[in-house]
Symmetry: C2
Subunit: 542 residues, 2 copies
């Protein structure tokens, strides 16, 4: 028997409609790409997004069409999201930091028909335009004056595009499973893969995200999303803030410590979210200028593991609570946050730190398990290391245009590619990427753990651990070290440094001193390239 | 185009599964009907609810069957909810405070096959059993020893019913729109009407309910639901608490001030929710015994308007934040909470009070409007008085077994039957019930406002205002006053008391002193009866 409640599809137009209805004068403040601070409100954003919808309809955009954005965090970018999604088109966020070939691949794979972009990216896009035949139009997020000097073909300014358009348009009124957003993961292997979010998945992600156990947002918050709108839904903030009526402060292109700090202070920011590198810059700025925060309370860190120096630096010196979060493009992304249990909160702070540095634990709506090589579920004992698998209302089912390829296990879980432990409270500790883990005699060795310790040696500039082939153990750890300028060292010096800090059977079978260690586009060790270079390396133990 | 996210139906088994997975040792503490305090955990509740599911399946319960509970708030009652709903049967909560004829009507209308009940209600149900032919079995929420003296026919103890049952059962695995719960409204006109909640509506209601703008719940909270499980979903707490891993403290049958206070102190309660009468008893207890709260922070008040004495009493003398909330059985029920805006919070407390006493404002997921007699939407100006209409993911569409009767307006809104204003921030101020409002020359006069002022006259024990027929104005206010013992008064005394406190055209056309004013079952003025008695009354102005 079916319930008799209303059919009220969870479509995202209802989010900005809510903000328009009850928080119309709440501000969205942007540091514009042109330079000045620009102030608008949810009421105005709502109206302009509706004008944009009419402009898109006039351009022939149909439900399901992919309309791309390659832009910084500004109010205009937010208008694009709601204007595109409201009419059932798909907002495809492009990461401007990608290499040209990746951008071309992604735009062609998605068959984007229009790209909204910032002045910052016009030159680059002018070069790429010939490689993107599906793109019929570029819209530059500026006004007519801003277009001076723009050489991008088929380009129009955003302001002239929406000028004169009516705010009267039909939004929503479609199935909540309709696609809303598209974001490609820049996987380290193969071509980028597209994650196609639905209105429903983003709406549920937003409801979960605002809860006290996750981001904990209300209209008392002033939110500065450092995390870009082109990075996995901006962790949901573009929906969460209008959903609760929180003021937004958009940093535009300036993410240096001084610029971020200035916005935080002038706009009364209480909450911010971003990757560790940005927080590192901000922390340095604070320390150097001996500044204080007047309003900032909470900072969420994701994208890569939270470094202890950031956690402690912001907490000890500036009184800001730093929350570690984990997720991926495929999980919308918020899968876990490291908010402590009541029992953990009673511990002395030093004993809380290990939990605060973990990936965190899941909210209702996200299921987790760790499995062994055969897919068997391992105990949640905080010790058993396995592949982290995730399932839930906002986890992907298939990749875009790879709908024929099953990627879930028999229980419907998605393989995150992370190797992790899960404890009894649900805390995830990520120990490695599954392709980087070293499989020695059926047991797993964390490459990351060894290289982090090795990199702490006073002579080391950089360290990398990979599995090298071994006839008896399948793989054994090989440590590569790039020394600091002018240093020399021996194999035994590094093994002695590791001794006692890792299990005996984790000790690398060899140490090589190298001139360089290849890095990928995001500054991380490019282990795919490194493994390839050493695939035939003969360990002395082999 | 459809998104490519997982099909993860929002079914309520996932809520208790989440608690079992990551909060298995969080306690649910009950003051049992038998007397002693009983401690259990979400892990145990999960297992026992699954045993109950198997027992129900063995009794032949099928998906869609109505299985009723008539019970206090205890862990066993919670097990019933999840055990019944998990297998797709419908948990029908019966209000033991209803009159016998209403209970009989409701049970027969729902065709309940089993009733789970407490020892407290066995005698009453034994009398009613012959009038409830669909009920094949009664299950008493006690153990074998507790059954001594129970004369209810076809009764078995809960503990012997589930004893020996396996915890292995299939839960969920059905459409999220499947009916989960059934609750009848005891309308003042006509027969009670059933609201049939779905798994989806309750799940979304729960996600919205835990958000900081509504109840704001996390695993840091210890929640004491005074509001009964049989009263509109216990305002969602039976789902919210396991969803976030909050400890629950169940008060059983003892709702007097001393008992509630004792539980709050011994169990470290931080959050509670209930109707004003219970809070009045608690406040009296606190004042009389000069007690203090050690842990209580937040108290949510709903069911009827929040009296200022409760708001101020708990805040000024005991440091507890009292939050007014509004909703109805038809809205699951949480439609609004009176959490203030950032601007309002900056006001001196005395100026905050009027907002804190309002019904509150809606979260994302709930749409509100006020309409005039012709269904035209009125401005949200805090002044325009109209009928309050509501729409949303957890608002009903049709009543149970009245599926052929359209009850929504052309925009899909449900008529709450309340007369209210809406301000620009979404704050609802309920001024009357729509059937009680006085329609004078096309304008509306709030009967409640006048009678509240009249009741404040030193000689008045009780006051009631109804619309009496008038040839020119359609209706004009008629004030009925029951004086305190031994008092006498004149019409002019009462009109003088009202003068200056209400608009001139609101002044009653007549004042009658009466020996008694009829009250309904819930202690409120029975205006239906009163209106009937004065339907032919000739006003002096007529």
């Amino acid at each position: 028997m079916q319930g008799l409640m209303q059919d009220w599809p969870l479509t995202l137009d209802r989010v900005i409609n809510h903000a328009k209805a009850w928080h119309p004068n709440v501000e969205v403040v942007s540091r514009s790409v042109e330079g000045p601070i620009v102030r608008t409100t949810y009421g105005q954003i709502h109206g302009r997004a509706r004008q944009l919808s009419n402009a898109l309809l006039a351009l022939g955009v149909k439900p399901g069409d992919r309309v791309a954005t390659m832009a910084w965090n500004t109010a205009r970018h937010l208008e694009c999201w709601y204007g595109i999604m409201g009419i059932g088109a798909i907002c495809h966020t492009l990461n401007p930091r990608l290499f040209a070939e990746q951008l071309t691949y992604i735009v062609n794979h998605a068959e984007d028909s229009i790209i909204f972009t910032d002045l910052s990216f016009c030159e680059n896009l002018a070069n790429l335009a010939p490689t993107m035949p599906t793109v019929k139009k570029f819209v530059v997020l500026t006004d007519e004056a801003g277009m001076k000097g723009v050489t991008l073909p088929n380009a129009v300014s955003y302001e002239s595009l929406i000028a004169g358009q009516s705010t009267d348009v039909t939004w929503g009124d479609f199935d909540e499973n309709t696609a809303a957003g598209l974001c490609y993961t820049s996987g380290t292997t193969g071509n980028p893969k597209g994650v196609l979010y639905s209105h429903r998945s983003n709406f549920i992600h937003s409801l979960v995200g605002i809860s006290p156990g996750m981001l904990s947002l209300s209209d008392k918050d002033v939110v500065l999303p450092i995390v870009p709108l082109f990075h996995a839904n901006a962790w949901g903030l573009a929906f969460n803030c209008p959903a609760v009526g929180a003021k937004m402060v958009m940093p535009g292109p300036k993410l240096d410590g001084a610029s971020v700090y200035e916005l935080m202070e002038t706009e009364g920011v209480t909450f911010s979210a971003g990757v560790p590198t940005v927080w590192q810059m901000l922390l340095q700025h604070m320390d150097t200028t001996k500044s204080k925060f007047s309003t900032l309370k909470t900072m969420v860190v994701g994208g890569s593991a939270l470094p202890e120096a950031i956690l402690r630096g912001f907490r000890d010196r500036y009184g800001v609570e730093v929350i570690s979060a984990w997720g991926m493009t495929e999980t919308s992304p918020l899968a876990t946050t490291a908010r402590l249990t009541p029992a953990q909160l009673k511990l002395p702070y030093d004993e809380q730190v290990p939990y605060r540095l973990k990936a965190g634990r899941p909210p209702v709506g996200v299921e987790l398990k760790v499995v062994d090589d055969n897919g068997n579920t391992l105990p949640n004992d905080g010790k058993s290391v396995g592949v982290l698998m995730v399932k839930g209302a906002y986890v992907l089912r298939r990749y875009f245009r790879a709908e024929d390829k099953e990627i879930l296990d028999s229980e419907g879980f998605f393989d995150t590619g992370d190797v992790a432990t899960l404890d009894a409270d649900g805390f995830v500790t990520i120990t490695d990427r599954s392709k980087d883990v070293i499989k020695s005699g059926g047991e797993w060795i964390s490459s990351i753990e060894i290289e982090n310790i090795a990199a702490g040696h006073e002579k080391a500039l950089m360290a990398c651990v990979i599995g090298a082939p071994h006839p008896k153990w399948d793989e054994r750890p090989l440590l590569l070290v790039k020394l600091k300028e002018g240093q020399t060292a021996t194999r035994d010096e590094f093994l002695a440094h590791l001794d006692g800090k890792i299990a005996k059977w984790w000790m690398p079978d060899d140490v090589l001193f190298v001139d360089d260690i290849p890095l990928g586009a995001t500054g991380k060790l490019d282990k795919k390239v490194i493994r390839l270079a050493y695939k035939d390396y003969k360990l002395p133990t082999a």
